[in-house]
Amino acid sequence: MITARSWSWLGLCTSGFATGIVAGYFQMWNVGPAMIGGLLLVPLLGLMRSIRPVIGIFVLFGVLGSLYQWSYQYQGPEHIRQRRMNHAAREVRVQGQVASDIKVTQMPYMRRYSFELEIEQLGLNGRWRLTRGRILVQLFRETEIRYGDRIETTGRLHVPFEFSTNPNFSYRDFLQRKNIHYILSVKNNTPVAVLEPARRGIKSQIYVFRKKIIQRIDPYLSTSELNLIQAILLGERSFIPRHIREIFIRTGTVHILAISGLHVGMISLLILTVLSVLNLPRKSIFVLSTILLGVYIILSGARPSVVRAGIMYIIVLGSHLFEREVRQIDTLSLAALVLLLLNPMNLFDIGFQMSFVCVAGIVVLSPKIQWLLERPLSRAKTRSGFVTGLIQSFAVSVAVALVIEMLVAYYFEIFTPVAVAANLLVVPLAMLVVYMGAGLMVFAFVWPPLAGLFAMMVKVSLNLMVGTAFLFSQLPGAYFYWRGLTLWNLIIYYFIIVMIFLVPWGIICPNLRRTKNQPKSGISTSPDQPEGRDFDNTRRL
């Protein structure tokens, strides 16, 4: 019998909330699917009394998600979107506050400087109008503007261009999900006046600190090395040489070049190790590491994947401190819920989807794959730690590949069978790059002679990492392009994955798992023990 006890309540609430956001975004509430779903739900509730609360909570959070999405997207009459601008570019004057760090993008013939502007007034047809909303400002010359400055400038306001040939990616939709509906292109000879300089806030100071870091490590590395280390450690990806990006895309290791949970995990481990050397009390270590990690998250651009990893890290560390047991799936669900509350449109962000799908794969699938791999070795009396580590790494790689490859094929139209093997070798090298790079950044301020030695290690490890990825990309059948994958293909694929991995393992049918696996895996028969101990990822953290 299906029991409500086997569900992760947080997971259930989050998935309900996310479903509600999707329904609200595509305005599904007033069409047939919702009615059909409701009709199906009635007999289902009658048949399965035990899961009645499960469905009830799912539906309740679905409605909440939908309402939240609707209220978040609602824009008042003063919003720039309501100004009904023509799609043709118009010359306008704007006043507003810089709401993001200045992003520099290397274009084929020039550099583009762009930033988000929170509009206060819009000068249209010779008169100012009170306006709210956010636009993206693009300049093609170097600027001294900083985050938080109040500025005034003139430019052509237009809707974002669609430049991607991939039908599954729209730049316009990407910006709209960040609540940006217009781009202001400022001419080279047009002045950008600072009406009021930025106040000294934490965020602006962190952005200034980032610039200082880059200036300090610049003398130790070549341009290409600096560009790569900036991407891997500070999230500045626009300067990665194109041919290097191609190598990583074609080997399924491009996640290394963007700051993700892997990087945050490594940085937090580094912070913890260094703080523990200082012999501080546990509570101080928790508080200090949380602050330092928060600084790092802002420093690296606070992308959803980074924030996700940061939240999970804080929960896990907090559970240690307060001696509470947490389930990884609950931690992941809570992180998702927080991110969706911050911005429900995060759900449609590719980075958000990849990050959560990836971690869900690691949390849910990898223990099962590991168990399958270890079965032939279960009779062996002794097993070296190296073999166990290798099996573990392989299981994680396979789990990630299973859940992420199709998503990558859907969005980027490339399939990389070599990814499992490539990640096994490239990820450890990337870890070396991160640790050595972090050492370089610290010692460039503290003790420059030692920074030189760290820089030497960075040089060698970076080249080794790129060389290894290149060798994998040269293998026959390493990658192939896969076009025409639809959303339905994706849904069917994930449905099959869930059916294969979750049904027989006790998430949906806990009795099946208990009777078959319990004696071998040594799971307690006591009803007081949480169910699915090994395979439901309730390992003590």
Binding site: V274, F454, N463
Partner: protein, 113 residues
């Protein structure tokens, strides 16, 4: 007696390894001036992933950096009219491909027949 915790030992070991390897590498790079160029793969043309301009379809050509649907179509059209391309410099003569763009994408192509 000096007692170090596990984490303290870890930090000391990492610093020791960095100092030893870093110093060794610095010495080698100074002693053998050709070594930095040998190690520097990031700027080396040998790691460019090349696409065969004769066998690639228009869609495959579009995957090459700096080649869009327009340029890919022009190359395929050129190939159809003049046969296989023996020298990449032939692409310069295609009307509509700017020299600056040619310089950018040519490093990702090869002309093996």
């Amino acid at each position: 007696m000096l007692y170090l915790t596990k984490n303290e030992l870890r930090v000391v070991a990492v610093l020791a390894v960095v100092i030893c390897l870093g110093s060794g590498l610095t010495y080698l790079f100074k002693r053998y001036p050709y070594l930095p160029d040998l190690v520097n793969l990031l700027d080396s043309p040998s790691i460019y992933i090349k696409t065969n301009v004769n066998s690639a379809t228009a869609e495959e050509l579009e995957e090459v950096p700096y080649i869009g649907p327009y340029t890919a179509g022009k190359i395929v059209e050129f190939r159809r009219r003049h046969g296989s391309i023996s020298d990449l410099e032939q692409l310069r003569s295609i009307k509509g491909i700017r020299p600056t763009n040619f310089e950018r994408f040519v490093q990702y192509l090869e002309a093996d027949q």
